[in-house]
């Protein structure tokens, strides 16, 4: 097995491993909760977007979640959107769709250019938070594909049935067809992680001396980052596809040099 195959195998199996840990965790009294708020022993991690929504919806400061959220944010500040590339089951799903070519044959109503713009994504995130505060429930949590996948896998394991909310998974896939790529352009959690992780030192660096300008890195990028044309790598999910597929091995992972 080549290094590329190994990295890919680990990346694709981690979300499945995380699902298995969450389903089997309670059996061994080790892991409780889904990714929304997961407790492994005495360590608890909480989704920052979930925290913001329930805080705004309940108009209260949830003291018990402060440390778990701070831990998640510290991790994001260091590693950027690594969650999107390595843990998120929804990202994994939509990217497999993409690889199978299912999403390239998208109809023409695509609004990619609108959602490509950062202000659109910030407005989307802001409206989700505003709606949570106005209507008093976490509006994204209820349809969050990550939450839906985890809740249904837990239900399936605990009492052998799944919920109707699974219908939102194809709805989101349809959104991806009609609007824009979910992970890189729409997902409000991705936008949240992007905001906190934009200064992550873990980014791909192109060695200009070795680069032949073939743009393979841009084509294979899960987050549609045009690596050769931009220094804005906030959306990078650290999937490493660019460095693994680069024909001249011109891409390395190292700390961003200070300007």
């Amino acid at each position: 097995m080549s290094r590329a195959q190994l990295v890919r195998a680990v990346r694709l199996s981690l979300p499945i491993f995380a699902l298995a840990a969450i389903v089997l965790g309670p059996v061994f009294h080790l892991v409780y909760g889904s990714i929304c708020t997961i407790g492994v022993g005495s360590i608890t991690l909480t989704c920052p977007l979930g925290f913001l929504q329930v805080s705004l919806a309940s108009r209260s400061m949830i003291l018990g979640l402060l440390v778990p959220v701070a831990a998640t944010l510290a991790f994001t500040i260091l590693f950027g959107r690594i969650f999107c590339g390595w843990i998120c089951p929804a990202g994994n799903l939509t990217q497999r769709f993409g690889e199978a070519g299912l999403l390239r044959r998208a109809p023409s109503l695509r609004l990619t250019s609108l959602f490509e713009q950062i202000p659109t994504r910030l407005v989307l995130l802001g409206s989700v938070l505003a709606a949570s505060a106005i209507f008093r429930y976490p509006v994204f949590c209820v349809i969050c594909p990550i939450g839906i996948i985890y809740r249904n896998v837990i239900s399936l394991f605990q009492y052998g049935s799944v919920g109707l909310d699974l219908i939102f998974i194809p709805v989101i896939a349809a959104l991806e067809l009609g609007l824009a790529p979910w992970c890189s352009h729409i997902c409000p959690l991705g936008t949240t992680l992007r905001i906190f992780g934009q200064k992550s030192p873990l980014v791909p660096i192109v060695d200009k001396a070795k680069c032949i300008g073939c743009s393979i890195c841009t084509k294979v990028c899960n987050m549609k980052v045009p690596l050769l044309q931009t220094s804005n790598l906030e959306d990078c999910s650290k999937c490493m596809e660019c460095s693994l597929r680069c024909p001249t091995r011109a891409i390395e992972w190292r700390k961003k040099a200070k300007p």
């Binding site: 409780y32 909760g33 929304c36 309940s58 989700v128 209820v142 605990q158």
Partner: protein, 195 residues
């Protein structure tokens, strides 16, 4: 910023906010029996982070996650399904502490004194009840942990006192009639209004 772009952004915002209002109106919430100590409905739907921890730790499996058929706002919140198991907060494995309240990270479920508990009440459908149809069955009466919640007429037919019943669901879970003669309702529930 160009006016056109501003309008597009405004459209995205309006779409998200109006959908957040319309969907709960279209997919209305049902009356659900909630775990012991769950906050009042509006506060619970606001503060529950939908992490499923309570459903995972419930020793009887009584806590299930509300599905789309239970309401849009309610999606992913915990509810008691007495057909899966009874709530043992009143008597049984959670007598000391309610495990769901203990593990809830957002305090959407609070520790409530088990003697002050009222999750709802059991309802009997006499047409289905074996005892009321002339058979000899006293299963509900025998499993009930609350004195006075079920009394017997002629020492044979059960009648339910909704004001005394705490809604633990033990009788519903145990009812041997097919289809079941008992169901659980949140009628008369008492829930804390905030943490």
């Amino acid at each position: 910023m160009k006016r056109r772009e501003f309008l597009k952004l405004f459209g995205v915002g309006v779409a998200v906010i109006s959908l957040s209002d319309i969907l709960p109106r279209v997919i209305k919430g049902k009356e659900l029996v909630r775990p012991p100590g769950a906050l009042v409905e509006d506060a619970l739907n606001a503060v529950c982070i939908r992490c499923a921890r309570c459903a995972q730790i419930c020793p009887t499996g009584a806590i299930v996650l509300a599905s789309l058929s239970d309401g849009f706002k309610e999606l992913g919140t915990p509810r008691i399904d007495a057909l899966r198991g009874p709530c043992e907060r009143v008597q049984g494995r959670c007598e000391g502490q309610a495990k769901c309240a203990e593990i809830c990270p957002t305090r959407a479920i609070l520790q409530v004194d088990r003697r002050a508990l009222k999750m709802g009440s059991a309802i009997i459908n006499a047409d289905r009840c074996m005892a009321w149809r002339g058979g000899s069955c006293l299963v509900c009466y025998e499993v009930c942990p609350v004195q006075g919640a079920i009394s017997l007429i002629d020492e044979a037919r059960p009648i339910f006192h909704a004001d005394i019943c705490v809604g633990c669901g033990r009788c519903v879970y145990a009812c041997p009639a097919q289809p079941r003669a008992l169901s659980l309702s949140p009628n008369g529930e008492r829930r804390p209004s905030s943490a």
